[in-house]
Structures are given as C-alpha cells and as structure tokens.
Symmetry: C2
C-alpha cells in the first residue's frame, strides 16, 4: 500500500516535472519568435507571440494547482516538499519570462507599425538575446537534471549580460547626444535590451532554486565567491 | 490533542503572518528612505538603504523556511495550505520590491556623486512614488485583512501608474530631442520611474494572491472586467 502510494506520488511528481519543462519549452519558443519577428518585421508573428502568452499563463495556473493538490493529498516529506516549492517558484519566473517575450513582441509591433527614422540596433539585440536564451536553456537543463553547478555559471553569465546592457546604454546615450534624431531608435533599443536582461535575471533565479533543491541551501542573495564555494566546494 | 495541535498550528500561522507584515513594513521604509534621499542627496541614507536590503533578503529566507517547516510538520488541509503558498509568493514579491528600492538608492547615489548637468525630474518621481507606496500599503492591508476587493483597485491603480510612466517617457523624449544636454538627466529619470512602476506591479501581484486565497479563484492574467465581476459580483 505504501509502495503503491509512493509510486502514485512519484508519477504525479514526474507529470509536474514534465509540465514545467513543456512550459519552459514554450517560453523559449516565445522568445525565439519575438526576436525573429523583430529582425524580419513579421507582424503576424508578433501577434502570435502576444496571443500565446495566454497559454504560458494558463500553464502556470495549471501546474500551480497540481502542486497544491499534490501537497494536500500526498502530504510529502520535507525533501519532496522542496521539489514542489521549487516548481511553484520556477513556474512564476517562467511566466515572467513569458511576459518579457510578449513585451518584446508588443514593442516590435509598435516599431514596425509607426514612422521610425531608424530601426533599433538589431545586431546588439540579437547578441544579447542569444546569451539570455542560452541562460534559459541552461536553467531548464539544471532543473531537469537537478544540477546545482549551473547556478555558478548563470550567476556569472548574468553579470556579463548586465555589463552588456550597461555598455549598450552608454553607446545609446552617445548616439543620442550626437544626433537627437536617433532618440526614438535608442529608446526602442533600450527597452528591448532591458526585457532581454530581465530574461537573464529570471533564468538565474531558476538555477538558484535548483541549488536550494539539491543542497537544501538557499544561495539567493549570496556573493559569487560564496556561490563558488557552495557549488564546487565539497 | 487535536485542539492542541490546531492551536499550535494557528499560533505558527499567526507568527508567519506577523513576519510578512514586518517584512512589508521594512520594504515600505526602504522605499521612503530611497525617495527621501533622492530629494535631499543624503549619501548616508542611500548607503543605509543599500545595506539594509540584506535584511529584507534574510527575512524572505526565514519566512520561506518557516512556511516549508509548517507544511512538513503540520500537514495542513487545502485551505490552510493556500494561506502558506500565498505567503511564499507574497514574500517573493516583497523581496523584489526591496530590490527596486535598493536600485533607486544605487542610482541616486551615482547621480549625486557624479557630474550632472541637471538633476532628475524629482517632482514627477515623487508623485509616482507616492502612488506606488499607497499601492504597497493597500496590498499589505489586503493581506492582513484577507480583503479581496483590493485587487480591483490595485489593478486600476497599476494601469494609471503605467500610464504615468508612459507619459513621463514621452515628456523625456521631447526634452532630449529639444536639448541633448538633458539626455543624462532623462535617462536617470527614466530608470528611477521604471523602478517605481515595477513596485506598483509587484504590489498588484500581492493583491491578486489575496483574491486567490480568499476566493480560491486565480485572477492573475484576468481582464479588468473579469476582476470586477469576481471581486464585486456575489
């Protein structure tokens, strides 16, 4: 009986885990489509991303409910509970990433549908997006394989992404001061870059939940040195 | 025995609830201090906000742990579980609000410690901050009194704050185009306003968790019409 119940629990947990990865895949696709549409000006693609954010949101609600049901019904022990709490937090960050993808799509649509002296700096945007996407994939992989070491890499990647954003900002300010006609373009680029930087932040958050899950240790708000020690140490 | 256990559970829940409100009060104070320091240029006050973010973070970790312990130990029924999950989500948003206050302090410190042609637009910043602070207080009050109606007000306030931000952005673009010497000031104002707008967002999130808690209904990602119906309806 205990084994039967335990098997049931494991199956339900596995279902939840699979759904999180599906949600992660969907969010990844949203980012890809939004950036793609930005490069091509495909309005229909922008609209698709905007509409499909509702699907991301409903996945969050579904998985959240599943988690609460499993806690109420199975009354999991502390270690299993950590998994479920990790899932609840992870899907919140995934949903926020979905929001950022939708924002990029909305901004892109506005840009292409209005008179613009210049298009945003696509090459720089694409480069940052590639970094952020790699971070998201790494975080989802870390979740799937319960890999605590990803947190160190992602903390460092996140700092690089923040630096990229700061450098981009300085460049845009220079353009704006040299030629005020570039102001609209610069503000567009700024906001899109900011959305991408936030995707990196959320991905880093997810990797930190995995460390907590694996090591029972909360490394959020921990310095890079401490994260190194925690994930490589013993 | 059951009554004793139930009383214990209630006491532990009450402790958690009190801690959330204390954390909320601390975060409120961080915002007030950051905005205050922005108006006065008080570097020591900026530093205090920057340092005390660590306290906000450690409160989140403590309450999070308390929640997981209470779930593991007391195995609460579905309705009590909802309270605890609501707390876990609420403290995450409070911690993010704390981050925004710290960002405002860091930006303020940088502004005052470097050569600036002009100071940011303080009057507009202060006005937005007052709206965001009122939203936070309303959200914490809603949490304290399990008041689901706050969500409707906060959804509307949040839209107003987003509009304020958009209007401020348009104004800043105008300034920048008319006089490129105002670009630095405009970017400063922009980022501080953005941080304030995000504080409003997080406050709205908290009020939505309360609706879920009170009505067992998830209104996140719901239109204003539907929120109206849900909170005023029956």
């Amino acid at each position: 009986m205990a084994e039967h119940i335990s098997k049931q629990f494991d199956m339900e947990l596995e279902t939840i885990r699979t759904r999180v990865l599906q949600m992660g895949g969907l969010v990844e696709q949203q980012i890809l489509s939004a950036i793609d549409a930005l490069m091509s000006g495909d309005i229909a693609k922008f609209d698709k991303v905007i509409t499909e954010d509702a699907l991301v949101n409903s996945m969050e609600v579904t998985i959240d409910d599943d988690c609460q049901h499993i806690i109420a019904r199975r009354q999991p022990a502390a270690s299993d509970l950590r998994i479920i709490i990790t899932v609840i937090k992870t899907i919140t960050d995934l949903e926020r990433i979905g929001d950022e993808a939708q924002k990029i799509a909305r901004m892109g649509k506005t840009i292409y549908q209005s008179e613009r002296y210049q298009m945003p700096r696509f090459r720089e945007i694409r480069k940052m997006a590639e970094v952020a996407l790699a971070m998201l994939r790494r975080a989802l992989d870390a979740f799937a394989r319960l890999d605590a070491s990803a947190a160190l890499e992602l903390a460092e990647e996140d700092m690089r992404l923040d630096d990229d954003f700061a450098a981009e900002l300085r460049q845009l300010i220079t353009f704006m001061m040299e030629d005020p006609r570039t102001i609209s373009m610069s503000i567009d680029t700024l906001f899109i870059s900011k959305a991408i930087e936030r995707i990196g932040d959320h991905s880093k958050n997810i990797s930190e939940y995995v460390v907590y899950l694996v090591k029972g240790k909360d490394i959020r708000h921990t310095s890079l040195e401490d994260i190194k020690r925690e994930t490589l140490g013993h």
